[in-house]
Amino acid sequence: MASERGWNDRRMDVVISNLLRFGVLLSAFVVLFGAVLYLVGHDHSHTDYRVFRDEPLDLRSVGGILRRALALDGRGIIQLGLLLLIATPVARVAFSIFGFAEEHDRMYVVVASIVLLILAYSLIGSAWL
């Protein structure tokens, strides 16, 4: 029993490791692509972060970001890359539920589901529309 669990845990470790690496790389490439469009479009304009203004509403929600990104707007694509980055640990937790279920570890299926619910509440509750 113990050795079997250990083997399954190891396999889960490897999948999680690849998932994290893939998520970070993908988001970095999307951000980089958005950065090129953004910098080419604005190379001589000026910016000021000294005063806090609310971001435009469509850069503050998942739907708005998708619309801006599909329109190939540089800032929208960067924001999409950042969303992918935020989604990476969330995907890791979601996969863990599956992994613990495979190991018949009901207690940790529940624990991981609670974490996923909290994350979903934060993302959907505050930034969906």
Partner: protein, 278 residues
């Protein structure tokens, strides 16, 4: 300054922050926010938004390596993530309701505190502790590969560790940092988890903790793509370079210098917050 010049400047600074953060094990987030606010005059809300995003990138990148080596304990991580994500939600909600000055004061105190923690000697001999009934029921006890084979360990003081983790999550959500120092404190000191397992599991948890407050930050407009872009790409580059060099470098003097820098930044953040100049 044009956008191109500003982005390049922020990128270079973020590479340095990520590099030093990885080399010293203190993380890039702690110097990033002071650098952006004190040197470049960025509003602290934009700074913590950009820092939080970079924290997710570096912790996920590093965790990918540690998890594969079997050093992190995914059950301890998952169980304590309930505490850190709840704390992060609370912290991010509080951050939206208090003034920039107050955030700056808390930040200053946390900087000084984490410099102090990093100067503490690390335990040389791993202790052997008896199994704790609650930890055993929660299946938190584990094993990890050591120099002389597989080592088993037991976990202690689960409620205390959980409470400290809630605090670490709150600081993370409030300040846009990983609060790795406090996570390690909770696991290593309170729960008696071996230092190696504590640091790698802490790293593993930081990304999930930060993701919990990222939703709130995004909805509040703290995450500006123009600022977060050079910060995220820079910190990621710097920390990847840092982990490459880490194996060869003697980091003792570097840690000393870096913790001194952190104390100075902490005092400055504290002073700005108290004098209302932020």
């Amino acid at each position: 300054m044009t956008i191109l010049e500003f982005s390049l400047l922020v990128w270079v600074g973020s590479v340095a922050a990520g590099f030093l953060g990885a080399l010293t094990g203190l993380g890039g987030g702690v110097v990033l926010v002071p650098m952006l606010t004190l040197l470049l005059g960025v509003d602290i809300r934009y700074a913590i938004g950009a820092s939080l995003v970079s924290v997710i990138a570096t912790s996920s990148g590093a965790a990918a390596a540690y998890v594969k080596e079997g050093l992190s304990n995914i059950r301890i991580g998952m169980f304590l993530e309930v505490a850190t994500t709840l704390g992060a939600l609370a912290g991010a909600t509080v951050a939206a309701r208090i003034s920039s000055g107050t955030i700056s004061i808390v930040f200053g105190l946390v900087l000084i505190g984490s410099a102090y923690l990093s100067r503490r000697p690390r335990p040389k001999n791993e202790r052997d502790v008896p199994p704790d009934p609650l930890a055993t029921r929660l299946r938190l006890n584990g094993s990890f590969p050591d120099a002389d084979g597989i080592r088993n360990y037991n976990v202690q003081h689960v409620p205390l560790g959980w409470t400290l983790m809630f605090g670490a999550g709150t600081l993370s959500g409030l300040l846009g940092i990983g609060s790795g120092a406090m996570k390690v404190l909770a696991m290593d000191q309170a729960m008696k988890i071996p230092f190696k397992v504590s640091t790698t599991t802490s790293n593993f948890m930081i990304g999930v903790t930060a993701a919990a407050s990222a939703g709130v930050y995004l909805a509040r407009g703290y995450i500006d793509p123009g600022l977060a872009m050079p910060v995220m790409l820079g910190v990621l580059t710097g920390s990847l370079l840092g982990t490459r060099v880490l194996v060869k470098a003697d980091t003792k003097w570097l840690r000393r210098v870096f913790s001194l820098v952190i104390v100075v930044l902490g005092i400055e953040m504290l002073y700005r917050g108290l004098s209302g100049r932020i």
